[in-house]
């Protein structure tokens, strides 16, 4: 009988030893990560294929680190606007429907709905403008959007809003605002999901 008890005591001590090695500790790996001071330059990742789409260096920086943004002008069908919009008024019959008919303006809620010239410079149609009257290039439209949507812009600079283009490493290239949001009707449309999850029993 004593032998059985002795064997149990040994097993218990052994298991206690094993158990003390593993198990949840008080410190998290996050604390160790936050202590790391050295910078990691993701451009050192060798096998990254650089983004081939057209980009432009952003005029804002995040924490002193520059980044590039996808250009917008090559996405617009009829840029330059000044081809039609010169000093004189445009006198094409039903010109609005022919050229801008596909645009439905639905930006802002009822009382604060935006009109065209809230963003488009009325004299220089190749540019946008902000409420201070500054001219803003189409490729740098974030400067305009960020006027009102400053929280999203702050997040976008840091990476919590928007997305990098294709790579997590290498030079930072991110989508500009209009890449995802149609500036005239920015809300995502309701649609069916791309797929569905079938019942899990057969």
């Amino acid at each position: 009988m004593q032998k059985i008890l002795l064997m149990y005591a040994c097993l218990f001590l052994g298991l206690a030893g094993v158990a003390s090695k593993s198990g949840a500790s008080e410190t998290s790996f996050l604390d160790e990560i936050k202590d790391i001071q050295e910078k990691f330059d993701s451009r050192t990742v060798e096998k990254v294929r650089p983004v081939t789409r057209e980009t432009v260096l952003a005029k804002d920086q995040y924490n002193g680190r520059p980044f590039r943004v996808l250009t917008r002008k090559n996405e617009i069908n009829r840029f330059k606007c000044s081809n039609c919009h010169t000093d004189k008024a445009v006198t094409v019959n039903q010109g609005v429907e022919l050229t801008h008919g596909s645009i439905s303006l639905n930006h802002g809620r009822e009382e604060q709905a935006l009109s065209c010239i809230d963003c488009h410079h009325p004299e220089e149609r190749d540019y946008l403008w902000d409420k201070k009257g500054e001219k803003i290039d189409f490729n740098h439209s974030y400067q305009l959007c960020g006027q009102c949507h400053f929280r999203q812009k702050r997040d976008w600079l840091g990476g919590a809003h928007g997305k990098r283009v294709a790579n997590w490493a290498g030079e930072r290239v991110i989508y500009n605002c209009a890449s995802c949001h149609d500036p005239h009707s920015p809300r995502f449309k309701k649609r069916y999901p791309a797929t569905y999850s079938p019942p899990l029993d057969r």
Binding site: K39, F40, A160, K163, A169, Y196
Partner: protein
């Protein structure tokens, strides 16, 4: 032995007559079992005996005896990859490029999911299925998206099987997948160390080492793992041919698999398929050891939480709200 017509008390009847019928019944039973056994072997245990080209059998034989990936030398890794590429060509006439890309130094991958931004479009699910060569027949999906009622964060209160126009008013959407825990219960449970955490933080499975006991699947608190109950079926034109040994190569039946943070993409600096596919930018991915990365920005400036944090698994997948 003296023949005795009556069986003695031990039940040991020694007459020649009964001994003969005993032998007959034994042989009859044995032949039933043998026939069934050889049928089993022919149909099941030795796969596709019909087209047994000698090269294929040799490759399969070598593959059977290879070591755990973690213990292989670089030459052995390259050899097994060459064998797997050749087998894919021989068996299915597929040209694949498999890689054994090692982890990038000083990288620990982290992931964040914005539950204010997700609109439930499930583009991520669809992209993941295509990128990772998931079985179409059983509709295996690493990623699950739940339509949630505001006020409740537990996915058990959400609906994971919706199919209607999204987003629905007053609902939010939350996605789950393998969270690549730092203190993963699944890697601890595996009896043969077929699953482990790589130095860059990705929890991987060596599909050829796995014995399919599914203990890791029982241990995972997040429904992160999937099992190949049958042979995966993928239409040939949809197969992603850029594969990684530990990632999206086509798995044999009877093996465990899971999200690998698209190891075949992330180790060459690309974003995982889910992050790249998301139309609303709800997914953030990056290097936790880089203080300037997007993921670190999220962790620093946003209210982040993790699922079932009280279990102490330390997932590297955070949820946040704008």
């Amino acid at each position: 032995m003296k023949s005795d017509n009556s069986s003695d008390k031990n039940g040991c009847s020694c007459t020649i007559g009964t001994a003969g019928s005993d032998r007959r019944s034994f042989l009859k039973g044995l032949s039933i079992a043998a026939a069934a056994g050889s049928a089993a072997l022919a149909t099941g245990c030795v796969p596709s005996v019909e087209a047994a080209a000698p090269e294929k059998m040799k490759l399969r034989w070598q593959e059977f005896f290879k070591d755990n990936y973690r213990l292989m030398t670089q030459e052995e890794k390259e050899a097994t990859i060459a064998r797997l590429e050749r087998l894919a060509k021989l068996q299915d006439n597929l040209d694949i490029q498999m890689s054994s890309e090692p982890p990038i130094e000083r990288v620990l991958y982290g992931y964040a999911f914005n539950i204010s931004r997700c609109e439930g479009f499930m583009e991520c699910v669809s992209a993941c299925v295509r990128e990772n060569n998931l079985d179409r027949k059983t509709n295996t999906q690493y990623i699950r998206i739940f339509e949630m009622e505001p006020g409740k964060l537990d996915p058990s209160t959400g609906d994971g099987r919706y199919y209607h126009k999204v987003p629905v008013e007053n609902k939010f959407y939350m996605g789950t997948q393998c969270f690549h825990c730092e203190n993963a219960p699944c890697t601890k449970a595996c009896p043969i160390k077929a699953t482990w955490m790589e130095p860059d933080g990705i929890v991987v499975v060596d599909y050829d080492w796995c014995i399919g006991c599914r203990y890791c699947q029982a241990a995972c608190p997040y429904y992160g793992r999937r099992f190949n109950w049958g042979k995966p079926e993928i239409p040939k034109d949809e197969i992603t041919t850029r594969q990684h040994y530990l990632g999206n190569r086509i798995r044999p039946k009877g093996k465990m698999e899971k999200c690998t943070f698209c190891i075949q993409r992330t180790r060459v600096g690309r974003l995982p398929a889910c992050v790249e596919a998301c139309p609303t930018g709800s997914r953030v991915f990056g290097n936790l050891l880089d203080p300037e990365s997007e993921i670190r920005f999220v962790l620093k400036h946003k209210k982040v939480f993790r699922m079932k944090e009280e279990l102490g698994t330390e997932p590297k997948f955070w949820y946040f709200i704008d």
